[in-house]
């Protein structure tokens, strides 16, 4: 599964994207965030306020409880500030 990061989430994680092999039991976006935070302090920092960071599954906005089975690309980013 490919993970991509944008704006200050990207800067805090320290990379634009990565391919990950998920362990069993990671079923939702929230599970994925919890697993990422266990991987190092850069992830801990990026997701320190979990309610702020948004997610998208295959280019569609997704809530923390959304299932990630079958997803090709999951993105994490701050609230949007375009327009």
């Amino acid at each position: 599964m490919k993970l991509v990061y944008f704006a200050w989430v990207r800067e805090r994680v320290g990379r634009t994207d990565e391919d990950v092999e998920l362990p069993d039991g990671i079923e939702t976006v929230a599970d994925l965030v919890r697993w990422l935070k266990s991987r190092g302090e850069e992830y801990e920092y990026a997701f320190e306020n979990e309610a702020v960071v948004r997610a998208a599954i295959d280019h569609v906005h997704a809530k923390p409880e959304a299932a990630i089975a079958g997803a090709r690309e999951i993105a994490f980013f701050p609230p949007m500030t375009g327009g």
């Binding site: 944008f6 704006a7 998208a56 280019h59 993105a75 980013f77 949007m80 500030t81 375009g82």
Partner: protein, 151 residues
């Protein structure tokens, strides 16, 4: 129904885009144009840098445009959003909404901007006059409240 959605680094010309939308059409009675520009925030900024999520930006704007078409009797839509570095005074975003009558065009343009600001994956970062890269612009609660009006 003509829908044109573009994500681009280059600036755009409102008059040329309006002409392209209405050319050869005798059914359009109203075109509302909204242009969002880069401010210098009282002289503090030299530029804004816009990051976007390629692929999702196009998909999300198409989704927002489809919602507008479901809600109002539109005859044409043009949405352009820039990425990269933009200077104070430069255009960032354009929404053109065409309809037979003005009300639908006004409301659709208003709706599209509220949704673009809160749902399209773009992020602004400030570049400051002292030459340093400033902060990422924070999302405003007011923008969320504006988008809530349409629910």
């Amino acid at each position: 129904m003509t829908v044109s959605i573009r994500i681009q680094a280059e600036a755009f010309d409102v008059a040329a885009e309006t002409a392209a939308l209405t050319e050869g059409r005798a059914d359009i009675g109203a075109v509302v144009a909204f242009t969002g520009l880069c401010r210098d925030e009282g002289g503090r900024l030299t530029a804004l840098e816009l990051e976007h999520y390629p692929g999702m930006a196009e998909a999300e704007i198409a989704h927002i445009a489809a919602q507008a078409q479901d809600r109002w009797p539109l005859l044409g839509l043009t949405i352009i959003h820039r990425f990269g570095k933009v200077l104070p005074g430069d255009p960032i975003v354009l929404v053109l909404a065409a309809s037979s009558h003005r009300r639908a065009a006004f409301e659709a343009a208003d709706f599209l901007m509220d949704y673009l600001k809160t749902r399209a994956p773009f992020w602004k970062r400030e570049h400051l006059k002292d030459g340093t890269a400033g902060e990422w612009v924070e999302a405003k609660d007011l923008d969320d409240e504006a988008a809530q009006r349409w629910l």
